[in-house]
Amino acid sequence: MSATSETELLQNRVPRPMRDLFFLAFLASMFVMGLRRPFLFVLLYAYIDIVSPQRLSYFLLNSIPISAIAFAFAFIGWALIDDKRDSRFSWRQLLMLILLAWCGYTTAGADFPIDAASKWNWVSKALIFAIFLPLTLRTRLRIEALALVMVLCASTIIVGGGIKTILSGGGYGELNLMVEDNSGLYEGSTISTVAIAIIPLIFWLARYGTIFPPDWRVRTYAAALAGACLLIPIGTVTRTGLLCILMLGALMLWHSKRRLSYGAGLAALLLTAVPFLPTSFTDRMGTIRTYQADQSASTRIEVWRWTLDYVKDHPLGGGFDAYRSNSFAYDTVRSEGEKTSQRIVREHVVEKERAYHSAYFEMLGEQGWPGLATWALIHVISLISTRRIRIRYADRTDSGHEWIAPLALALQQGHIIYLLGAIFIGIAYQPFVFMLLALQIGLSTYVARRRKEEGKTPIFASGSTQRGAAA
């Protein structure tokens, strides 16, 4: 978060002593539980990173570096107490390490050193945690616990956002998501993408969860939460969110055994839902087709053009926030008046310091071709690896393996939705997404270890284990 937004945030805050005390009590209880099970410190750090309780409270937590303390405890707990026999360092973690080093290098010679240092501050933390996280994900329960905590943390924003959308209809930049600084997960387009991306994970937790074993209450809550997730793009009126919903529908159909009936059901649901959508939403979605008249879409295209030109001269990138040197002029074209007497209006727009509005161009402009290549490689390897796990375990329905393929599928679908949303939003370094990547790495190393163990199992072992070794 920039220094300016931090100041604005403090000015906008309303004192809520009860809320402060509540967060303090919650954090204190988590710390106490963490002393008994150090892995809970890892979950605590993830919680602080996603929910940012210090931004939701007024005074108490602002003065304590809770994030740093939680990470220190998580790392010390792992280093001193945790069993490291099962920990593996994967290629993807190495690539993240390279990306971290590269970001450090570009920050040192950044076009805008002060802004770059500010962004480096949180990006480096997110990357370090993502590199560290898979080392701790040694058991199935830990993988599940992290997935659950991520979903519940996101639900802090999503449940409120969903209810407000039902009550008010929302509006672009209007739906108040608890904090007013519009950054991190609290930014409309970002939470739209993340909310849709975690829907498959919500359903996986409701079906295969062991912390909250599946029953009618869990299923009801999961369905309600998924509904709230779908309402977020409507409430925040983000076009990216709509595209993500369509992608989710397509992915679910693709992997559904009853494509025809599900497809018909989805189409019926969509047609029934449209009349109930707020006009602010349908109006804005209509602009997807008329992007030439839309300044927001035109800006994106101009910034992307500028970035491609920029990297011709700066192939190694300009460091964080390099977009600040951009400025461009373009014309928007729109039609005005009645159908019979329509006239075309051309407007000249001059803009400068416009953000990338795309994770791909953000990476290219800031970290150059080497940074984009490393980042893309991390994502491509993750997609391939998770897909391989899904295929390998697709037929494994025996106890102890039945959860693997569905989790791989849920993570894969969430990842694809993120990669789609990332075309239109600058979320290349979003900590929540790095955690999703860490979950995939954790699943890969876990599965590899299980296969190795099963390979070592003697020939007279139980039937299910033998089947595992053969798979």
Binding site: F22, M30, M33, F39, L43, T139, V149, T156, I163
Partner: protein, 47 residues
């Protein structure tokens, strides 16, 4: 009001989840549980 409800609900669930994890040996080592050595009475099924 809505924000408070959202915060309370999610944090209550987070707390219960972490509380339940305290009594799960499989959080740290699931091999014993998988091998059936730790078939504790009343414990939830682990991995």
């Amino acid at each position: 009001m809505i924000d408070t409800f959202s915060i309370l609900l999610s944090h209550a669930l987070l707390f219960v989840a972490c509380w339940r994890l305290l009594s799960r040996p499989a959080l740290n080592d699931e091999r014993d549980v998988r091998n059936g050595a730790a078939a504790e009475s009343g414990a939830p099924p682990d991995a």
